[in-house]
Symmetry: C2
Subunit: 247 residues, 2 copies
């Protein structure tokens, strides 16, 4: 093998999977790692998976062995009870981790479904634990990610427990907006990847209620909606809905 062939091979692999070369490394697990630490993480994250819209990344009941970092695309997670009722527990986008629910019992407790064609990096969990025993920064960052998920869930509980329909939708839109912004997209104009029904499930509302709330926001000049295309016209107005309403 010539030197060039080696270089080419390395270059190929880097393009193929490396965290060290991923433009999400500031959003994702590698945050704060040194060059050589990053390389060791690269070794774990060797398998990618492509999913088409509608595909399951994993299902409730399946054995757990990896967590997944979203490289591109958009997901929802949901839980189901026997009688068929289900609840969307979250929407995940680029750079976010999926699968943390599986750690506790080594069995996934929810479904993760791609809402658009997506790509994820699979990170074998036991190996991640091994590496994070060696790299303090990685360990600490991983703990922060899990804790952030807990805090996020508390926010959703607050939303579901105390807010009225329009407040919920406003909170939802502001959250999406802020996350798009953090990824370099417009915070004001975006396409929803999920149906009214899925938004409703997440927010504890029926799809008709979600639709009506959208229409109301439009009437009030807070935003322009057409199907799944949303443009926020008055962020402050939306924000005021959240804080100010109620006694």
């Amino acid at each position: 093998m010539t030197m060039n062939a080696v270089t080419a091979r390395l270059a190929f692999e880097v393009v193929k999977t490396a965290c060290s070369n991923c433009n999400l490394r500031e959003l994702c697990l590698p945050i704060g790692l040194e060059r050589d630490e990053l390389k060791r993480l690269d070794e774990l994250v060797s398998t990618r998976r492509r999913l088409k819209r509608g595909d399951h990344l994993y299902r409730a009941g399946q054995g757990f062995e990896s967590i997944y970092a979203i490289r591109s695309g958009f997901f929802k997670t949901d839980v189901m009870i026997e009688d068929g009722r289900d609840q969307v527990t979250g929407f995940q986008m680029t750079g976010e981790l999926l699968g943390l629910d599986g750690i506790s019992s080594e069995i996934h407790s929810c479904n993760a479904i791609a809402l658009e064609d997506s790509e994820v990096c699979a990170i074998p969990f036991l190996q991640l634990e091994g590496l994070s025993r060696q790299i303090h920064t990685l360990q600490h960052h991983f703990h922060k990610v899990m804790s952030r998920e807990i805090v996020r869930d508390h926010g959703v509980m607050m939303l579901l427990g105390t807010m009225r329909a329009e407040e919920r939708l406003a909170a939802f839109l502001l959250n999406l907006s802020q996350r798009f912004k953090a990824r370099g997209y417009s915070p004001a104009e975006f396409n929803l990847r999920m149906s009214r029904d899925e938004i409703g499930s997440y927010l504890g509302l029926k799809l008709e209620t979600v639709s009506r709330a959208f229409s109301r926001f439009q009437e009030e000049g807070l935003l322009a909606v057409h199907q799944r295309k949303v443009r926020i016209l008055n962020t402050a107005g939306l924000r005021k809905l959240l804080t100010h309403q109620r006694a």
Copy 2:
């Protein structure tokens, strides 16, 4: 110092704080640790804190440095938004951990309040991370605990998003019952440590609705309630409310 003095001193310390001697060690962080590992955990868990009913263990906004294992007593955690609305995010009992919300930003995001006189073990988080880099079992168990919290939160989201008032209360009571049972108490008869208002906040209901649901359950012979004293008479009936109801 005589040998006896040394022994006595050790015995004193063991009684005072050691995980190795704690009758909760099968419920709490030490699960699965070897004798010598346990000893090293003991060294971290040196500070105890006693709280009286109503005391805050920590408050939202305070800096985070330790997580807490409940040694005895009963807690609630809640989050608040500017306009004064608050949401109880959980009730914690013996052997459960508090403070995981603080890891993500190094600032606590919720309040933890004792609902009865209680005692907790403070575990400095950075030291816990250090030790769990050395003790694989401890690391893994800690990850499971965090993950379990996420799964629990998803359950609450399901409850808040899809269940009707009586289903919520049934789910709540069954959950409490099961947790008392796991601690060696009667699963059928217990004292609620929280007010109707706090139950309502947790379940996304008003206190009057909670009270009415209790009365209804009593009429239907599912349980006997008097103020905070609850006796479950028909567990299967309560369980059926959960699964069967609705289309």
